[in-house]
């Protein structure tokens, strides 16, 4: 533990990121103890349009939701969407990247050109079409899957590049000469070397997933009934909360979103430093 704390002094951005998430955990924990989330985060559970007070710490919105309860539920739901989408994207990307870089040949050409074409198309726009076509049946899991369907190109490209550079190293040649088969080489030699890198890229894809989910929800393509952070932003825009002076309605989700993104960004930067200490960072 003290070793870890010492390491954090050398890697302050990881520390900042962990601190941000600790804040979120405390925030959500208190919310859970205080509220029955299955009721208070949904409409008509509290008087509408109340500014923050002792009874309603973050105020209530125009549809009669307790904003603290909404934030508690929303933080978890939004992180869940981002994490699911990011993880699926990373898994698909890792498999494709490995296949492309390890076996080379026409598979590599095919995967690489598909990634290159898809990367030039703005993903959020394609997601808009998919989400618009499926909006009647939209729920949290479907949203995560839709986002995951376009979250694998970046990881594929990165993992491919990493594996390409690893496969020429002497220890892999030694492994090949010692008679290990492809399967053993991939799981016993390559994977362990990629783990810190995979962790850093997971943070990147989770950030991307949350970003996409917030975007789709703010446009009105999310699961309308769920109290996620993105839907809260959508209602803030829909009800012109700021023009009515209901600053608290926007303040809560904006703060949580900023904390999540800054936290993820710092953890990502910290893990990059851990995975590749040679990169010099400013934060």
């Amino acid at each position: 533990m003290s070793g870890f704390l010492k390491y954090l002094r050398r890697n302050p951005s990881l520390g900042v990121g962990i601190f941000m998430f600790a804040l979120l955990v405390v925030f959500v924990g208190i919310g859970y103890m205080k509220y029955d989330i299955s009721k208070a985060a949904y409409p008509l559970s509290a008087p509408a349009n109340k500014p923050p007070s002792l009874q309603y710490p973050l105020g209530t919105d125009s549809q009669g939701r307790e904003l603290y309860a909404v934030m508690t539920a929303g933080t978890i739901l939004t992180l869940r969407i981002g994490f699911t989408a990011g993880l699926i994207g990373l898994i698909i990307g890792t498999v494709l990247g490995f296949v492309a870089a390890y076996f080379r040949g026409w598979v590599d050409v095919l995967i690489k050109s598909l990634v290159d074409i898809l990367l030039t198309i703005p993903g959020l726009l394609v997601l808009v079409i998919i989400a618009a076509a499926t909006r009647q049946a939209m729920n949290i899991n479907l949203l995560a899957l839709i986002i995951a369907s376009l979250a694998w190109m970046g990881p594929t490209r990165n993992i491919r590049a990493q594996v390409l550079s690893l496969r020429e190293r002497p220890f892999l040649q030694a492994a090949r000469l010692s008679g290990m088969n492809s399967f053993e080489i991939i799981f016993l030699e390559l994977m362990p070397n990629l783990l810190p890198y995979l962790a850093a890229s997971l943070v990147g894809s989770v950030t991307g997933g949350i970003f996409a989910s917030l975007g789709l929800e703010a446009l009105g393509l999310g699961a309308m009934r769920e109290p996620t952070l993105g839907m809260t932003i959508y209602w803030v825009i829909y009800y012109s909360a700021l023009l009515k002076g209901m600053w608290w309605w926007a303040l809560a989700p904006v703060t949580v979103i900023v904390v999540i993104f800054v936290g993820l960004f710092s953890i990502g930067a910290g893990l990059d430093e851990l995975a590749n200490p040679r990169t010099r960072r400013v934060v």
Partner: protein, 335 residues
């Protein structure tokens, strides 16, 4: 530059267009059990107070003929591809007689205006800033601003937009709260109206500039750091060239090239990000049009906008790709 490369690039552009159009055609038809025309007509008749659904099937059949939905699927597909190729994106469902492409051309100048302005500004500011941070002889104070800029860049544009609206438009009342120009004024090319336009564009642009400057600064800083050990830098210094000449003519010039590549890659992100900024500010561009279409279930407009944006980004990337060898002599498209 080889002709074969240009030909390949043109093919890729058409492949992108074809993919975008096909996605537009296939996806809505995959969503099973939905009949947008029936939904639409029932919604309209309910709005008019008509509870009876007499004759609704005849109406639906008539509309299906009008939209060409009674033809076999392969024929519909060919017609669809031919129409999109000519940028005939159909008619808007919610603004019925208006065509989708007409709506887009009305909204396009607004989006182009703020996106171009904020991209150029943040690119320039970020590049200069990043170069200065990495420059050993620049004031050290600058490096303290980096974490702040990076914090901004970690947050989506429209979230910053909400914060800016609250403080600068609602509390301080320095800027208008939304819209592209004051309500009640008639758009014209007069100087006074242009001033009002700019006034309304400041906050939306600012939220994009604040959010994207940090990214450019970080990229530029990285390049400047790698360049500083290069032989030509040592040589320039050994020759006794003035600092400013080394900075602009040697360091910045070489470090900037990857930045321009990044510019092309960031365009898609910028356009998508600008969309939500427009929704937040009620700015009358493509983003607001899209948000509006989504809220009114106007599918032809949604698909039309997405298709249009994908294709126009493809065209811009195509042009930038062809320009690279002119900007950076190290890039050639020869095998």
């Amino acid at each position: 530059m080889r002709l074969s490369y240009v030909a390949q690039r043109v093919l890729l552009l058409f492949a992108t267009m074809w993919m975008a159009a096909s996605v537009n055609f296939v996806l809505p038809r995959l969503a099973t059990g939905r009949d947008p025309i029936r939904e639409r007509i029932i919604a309209e008749s309910a709005r008019g107070g008509g509870a009876t659904n007499i004759g609704i099937n005849e109406m639906i059949a008539e509309y299906r003929v009008q939209f060409g939905l009674d033809e076999p699927l392969p024929k519909q597909y060919v017609t669809y591809l031919w129409n999109t190729l000519r940028f005939d994106l159909g008619k808007s469902l919610s603004n019925y007689p208006k065509t989708v492409i007409g709506l887009i051309t009305e909204a396009l100048p607004w989006t182009l205006g703020i996106v171009t302005f904020s991209t150029i500004t943040s690119f320039t500011l970020g590049t200069i800033f990043g170069a200065l941070i990495a420059w050993p002889r620049a004031p050290r104070v600058l490096s303290y601003t980096v974490p702040i800029l990076l914090t901004f860049s970690a947050v989506p544009f429209y979230i910053l937009g909400l914060i800016l609206i609250y403080f600068f438009a609602f509390q301080l009342k320095w800027f208008p709260i939304g819209g592209g120009y004051p309500i009640g004024t008639i758009p014209s090319f007069s100087l006074a109206f242009m001033g009002k336009l700019a006034y309304h564009a400041i906050l939306p642009s600012l939220s994009m500039i604040l959010a994207s400057t940090g990214g450019w600064a970080l990229g530029m800083r990285g390049m400047m750091v790698t360049i500083q050990g290069e032989d030509y830098m040592n040589y320039a210094e050994a020759k006794g060239l003035p600092d400013s000449r080394i900075f602009f003519g040697y360091a910045v010039r070489n470090a900037m090239l990857p930045q321009t590549t990044g510019l092309a890659l960031s365009l898609g992100y910028l356009v998508a990000g600008a969309g939500l900024v427009e929704v937040v500010f009620g700015y009358p561009g493509i983003g607001s049009l899209l948000g509006d279409a989504i809220s009114k279930f106007d599918y032809t407009t949604i698909y039309g906008i997405v298709f249009f944006l994908i294709v126009s980004l493809g065209v811009v990337l195509f042009i930038i790709d062809l320009l690279y060898p002119l900007i950076d002599p190290r890039i050639t498209y020869e095998q």
